[in-house]
């Protein structure tokens, strides 16, 4: 496989001129993914930031085919596109669904499950910034414990969100999907490699990419990539793949960097006290203990 990096990736742009915030991790992921997916792509995006900033008549940010879908319907519209192209005999195309964490793990969950069940020939990319950002930072199923959002306020009685981040990667894998992966825009080459792998996969594949959001998380816009690295290095997110029925850890840090440093750089976690952070670290360690025991690496 071609080594993907800044030197080998195409200079062509398929996604530009959008109105995303400065430092947006989501548009960064999308721009790079499109470079791999190429001009024969058909993209389906639900209501959410990327749809809101990219389809404002008459300024369209995709140079490829793309459409907004009903919020719940990213995977079903995408599988309809793929089925339509197949029925028309149009070959060498790539259909992708690109949804946020809410559009994947909450309202889009059923349609995604159905598409995987049908083994629809699509790539589903979840740009995970851990809350509903387009509507103004509300808690989603992928919001981690202790996050302050506008619907999970932190105060004297609650530490922000009190639920754990839904384990979408393994839920998707449990369908027996052909290919699934996690990624982070902090490790962009790893992400691009996974997009390429998904592109080469026949049937449904799923990539959940971690995309920091300066607006929703409260950090300077130039920290997006370093935070996306720090979350992986501190073990609060992980880079992994699921293929042929097996899990593989792509990065297994000998020692985690400080979770506290990662958390405290963001105003959504500013309120956390040492006990909260200790709890978050405990949960992290439990997860890694299981992954290291059961997964390949």
């Amino acid at each position: 496989m071609l080594k993907l990096n800044a030197h080998t990736i195409t200079n062509k742009e398929y996604f530009y001129g959008h109105k995303a915030c400065g430092g947006c991790g989501e548009s960064l992921a999308l721009r790079h993914a499109m470079k791999i997916l190429g001009e024969n792509s058909f993209a389906a995006l639900p209501a959410g930031c990327m749809a809101a900033v990219s389809f404002i008549y008459p300024n369209m940010a995709f140079t490829t085919n793309a459409m907004i879908t009903p919020f719940a319907a990213t995977a079903s519209v995408a599988s309809g596109i793929a089925a339509g192209l197949k029925a028309l005999g149009i070959e060498n195309t790539q259909t992708i669904g690109i949804a946020g964490d809410g559009g994947t793990a909450d309202i889009g969950f059923q349609a995604l499950s159905g598409a995987i069940d049908r083994n629809a020939d699509i790539i589903f990319i979840t740009t995970d910034n851990e809350a509903y950002m387009n509507t103004g930072i509300q808690k989603s199923g992928l919001t981690p414990y202790g996050t302050k959002t506008t619907t999970s306020p932190a105060g004297e009685n609650l530490p922000g969100s009190i639920t754990q981040k839904k384990n979408m990667f393994e839920i998707v894998a449990a369908h027996g999907i052909t290919y699934a992966a996690t990624a982070s825009v902090g490790y962009i080459e790893d992400f691009l490699k996974k997009v390429q792998k998904a592109k080469d996969t026949k049937g449904t594949s799923y990539i959940q990419v971690f995309v920091p959001c300066p607006t929703g998380w409260g950090y300077p816009a130039n920290e997006t990539v370093s935070l996306a690295k720090a979350v992986v290095d501190s073990g609060l997110w992980y880079l992994a793949e699921y293929e042929n029925g097996e899990f593989m850890l792509n990065k297994n840090p000998k020692e985690f960097t400080s979770a506290k440093d990662y958390l405290k750089k963001q105003s959504r976690f500013k309120h956390l006290n040492d006990a909260d952070i200790e709890y978050i670290e405990e949960q992290r360690d439990k997860k890694w203990e299981i992954m290291r025991r059961k997964w390949n690496y």
Partner: protein
């Protein structure tokens, strides 16, 4: 030419019509009383008599969303639903119509919960009159099959480019067996050419962004274009039905059919299968020398304002049979008819007969009573303008 006839139910007839229309992709989810249609289509695909992709979706919302994806690349899409299923996919209906995607959907008219009930009334489709879909209502299995073919032709007409919902009364039509004439595939192929929609579909040759957002500086104009194309689709509904009749020998009179309207003093307006029952009563009353007529409304969107006013010229009282209630008001068809008739110089008196809710039978006797009440109403007797047929409680 030998004509093939089959003894089949309404759902079967829809499936036959869909097979003849050769859709590229069928997205299917079961719901009573529609299910037989998607079962038949699955069999056709399995045996190879229909070359189509068959998608087992996990919900009605996805059934229509899949069809939206299919249609967005210029392929022919079919789906079918009913009742709660239609309401579940409701959000996606304006997506399809706003994006001008010529999807055809069969809706088996069924009551809405609660109370739960699987039988036929027309509450479901009436909810979606404002969804931007053209709505047909059919009377029998033959018309159900024929309208699947006409629906694709209409939806894919360049000037129309609007999705079409064909409404089939639950059980009374979906599950009732009739002799249906099946046209030859070659004739259908002549009538319904391959789909072509280069201007509003995504393609490699001409990449597009679809289902876009438009601000308040342009949004209204998009809606106006959609609205006026729907209004103008009335012309194509008439023309396509005429052409269909010339080719297959069955005419349905486009937007509406008037029966015994030439000298009618009073008339009933019906949608769907209750038309058939009313035809029988009409014949009897005519034999008795009563000047009664019947109008079968075949299309509720677009609404045949001028044609309805024209056919009702000289009629003194009109009753509208509604198999739905708009809670807190009256029957929905009645509201629509009154607005249309207000364009007339001498507007007839109007009455509403609400019945058949939750699948309660509307009998010949009920319809005869409706005609009688219309006569009484005409003669100036004081009776409620909105009547409820065959109700078993005080209200």
């Amino acid at each position: 030419m030998s004509k093939q006839k089959k003894f089949i139910c309404g759902d079967d007839a829809v499936a036959e019509g869909v097979r003849l229309a050769r859709p590229h992709v069928i997205s299917a989810y079961p719901i009573t009383p529609q299910t037989i249609t998607v079962e038949r289509l699955a069999e056709y695909v399995e045996e190879g008599s229909l070359k189509a992709e068959y998608l087992h979706v996990e919900s009605e919302h996805s059934a229509l969303s899949c069809a939206i994806g299919v249609s967005s690349v210029g392929a022919r899409a079919f789906t079918a639903t009913s009742s709660q299923g239609l309401l579940y996919m409701a959000e996606a209906l304006p997506y399809a119509s706003g994006a001008r995607l010529p999807i055809v959907m069969m809706n088996a008219n069924r009551s809405i919960a609660t109370p739960w009930n699987i039988y036929g009334d027309q509450m479901d489709a009436m909810f979606l009159l404002n969804s931007g879909w053209i709505q047909y209502y059919v009377e029998d299995a033959q018309e159900a099959m024929d309208m699947m073919i006409q629906a694709y032709r209409l939806a894919e007409t360049k000037e129309v480019m609007t999705p079409v919902m064909v409404n089939i009364d639950g059980f009374v039509l979906t599950h009732t067996y009739e002799l249906v004439e099946i046209p030859e595939q070659s004739l259908v192929d002549e009538f319904l050419p391959p789909i072509s929609m280069p201007e509003n579909s995504m393609s490699l040759e001409s990449p597009k962004s679809l289902c876009i957002s438009a601000g308040n500086d342009t949004n209204m104009e998009f809606n106006m274009k959609q609205h006026f194309d729907m209004l103008n689709s009335e012309y194509f509904i008439e023309a396509i039905d005429k052409e269909f009749g010339d080719k297959f020998g069955r005419y349905y009179n486009g937007m509406l059919e008037g029966i015994n309207m030439d000298d009618a003093e009073i008339a009933l307006i019906t949608t769907g299968t209750v038309t058939g029952t009313t035809r029988v009563v009409l014949k009897k009353l005519r034999k008795e020398g009563k000047k009664v007529g019947l109008i079968k409304l075949r299309v509720l969107r677009p609404f045949p304002v001028e044609k309805l006013a024209e056919v009702l010229k000289g009629v003194k009282a009109v009753g509208v049979i509604d198999k739905n209630i708009s809670f807190g008001y009256e029957g929905t068809v009645f509201t629509n008819v009154n607005s249309a008739l207000s364009t007339m110089e001498n507007m007839p008196k109007t009455m509403n007969f609400i019945g058949g809710i939750g699948g309660r039978d509307i009998t010949k006797e009920d319809i005869e009573i409706a005609y009688e009440k219309l006569f009484e109403f005409l003669q100036g007797e004081k009776i409620e303008r909105v009547q409820y047929m065959n109700v078993r409680c005080d209200y």
